[in-house]
Subunit: 218 residues, 2 copies
């Protein structure tokens, strides 16, 4: 863990009660602010920010108010400062290391995806059972045999597991990584994982996204 | 549109007011029921169903109650029948055709992903600007030049666009597909799209999933 600015402890304590939807929106704000930075825009009002987000300004102000007073009345927010504050709240103001388990089509796409690195994530290793994949480098990740899961997770200081294996071995893999201290799993497998309290699983099910969209077709 | 069973019109009318979260859970129920079918399990209680889902039984019963009376007291639900009903409600009891725009790493992974076909989706075409990609077949899709977007969407009866292009051209592509009648977009681009009323956009932002997970790390 890196050094934190003064007052961070109190912020963290308050942040524990923040709803999941607000956390996700903060990440979205960070993305929008990053785009503004790339366009050399240094200041933004909550109204402009909300327009970029497709949300109402009151929601934006309410979300940011969870973390104390940002922004200056009549001026708005300083883009770089607000983004830095959000990243500190999300604890991505440091390098977070993740590993991908399962290097099929989806796993390979995730490894090749450059968006994670842009937000401070590093994926130095991945795991697969296929001897033809082991030893390859995809994106910035070295593909390792799944037998070395526990050993390598510790060695590389991995904090998040991105699960992209088939349904059948998903729970067993989850059990193994949790036993060696992992508390955060991003699960692309269409299987509900049973995990102990204190372990957080986020589910991304691409078929559900497509299917729930089909419902709205005329 | 295929023939619908009697009473479907009324069901559709009622379904308009169903919250988005319920629609997503229905798709999840469908997935769980599919897994049960593959294990030759023919009946399931709402308690068992809720355990597979990691949700409480009352929530499951409440969700299903939106659509009238399913299941038999003391018996539970017939797996195949309940799945068929849910797919009818979600309108995926027919082949829904989608096209992928942008055949980079993510686009290629989406085309190679077999989970969509299993739920009745077909992706016969994809679009890219890269002459090296045009003409290839990935998964079941033929990669076509993006110049032919409008013409081919009509020709193939495409109803859903899966957007996996870079941020910069995303809005222009969205505008083009909407002009030729598309009302449903699954957007993997980290850009908020501006769309007219009646057009539904679902956002999948992989970085947001990872970043919001990082927040919960100890």
């Amino acid at each position: 863990m890196e050094d934190r600015p003064q007052g961070q402890a109190a912020e963290d304590g308050a942040a524990r009660r923040i709803p999941k939807a607000v956390i996700k929106r903060l990440s979205l704000y960070s993305r929008v602010l990053q785009n503004l930075e790339m366009k050399n825009i240094t200041k933004v009002s909550s109204k402009e920010l909300s327009e970029h987000l497709g949300q109402n300004p009151a929601q934006v102000r309410k979300d940011l108010a969870y973390f104390g007073q940002f922004g200056t009345p009549g001026v708005g927010y300083y883009v770089a400062e607000l983004r830095a504050q959000i990243k500190r709240i999300l604890r991505t103001d440091r390098e977070v290391r993740a590993a991908v388990v399962g290097v099929g089509n989806l796993g390979q796409a995730l490894l090749a995806y450059t968006g994670f690195a842009r937000e401070g994530f590093r994926i130095p290793i991945a795991f697969d059972t296929d001897p033809l994949k082991v030893g390859r480098t995809i994106g910035s990740a070295q593909v390792l045999p799944v037998e070395e899961l526990e050993e390598r997770i510790r060695q590389y200081g991995i904090e998040i597991i991105i699960l992209a294996v088939p349904s059948e071995p998903a729970q067993a893999i989850a059990d193994r990584v949790i036993r060696c201290g992992i508390t955060a799993i991003l699960n692309f497998v269409p299987t509900r994982l049973v995990v102990p309290p204190g372990v957080k699983v986020h589910y991304v099910d691409l078929t559900i996204e497509l299917e729930s969209l089909a419902y709205y077709l005329k």
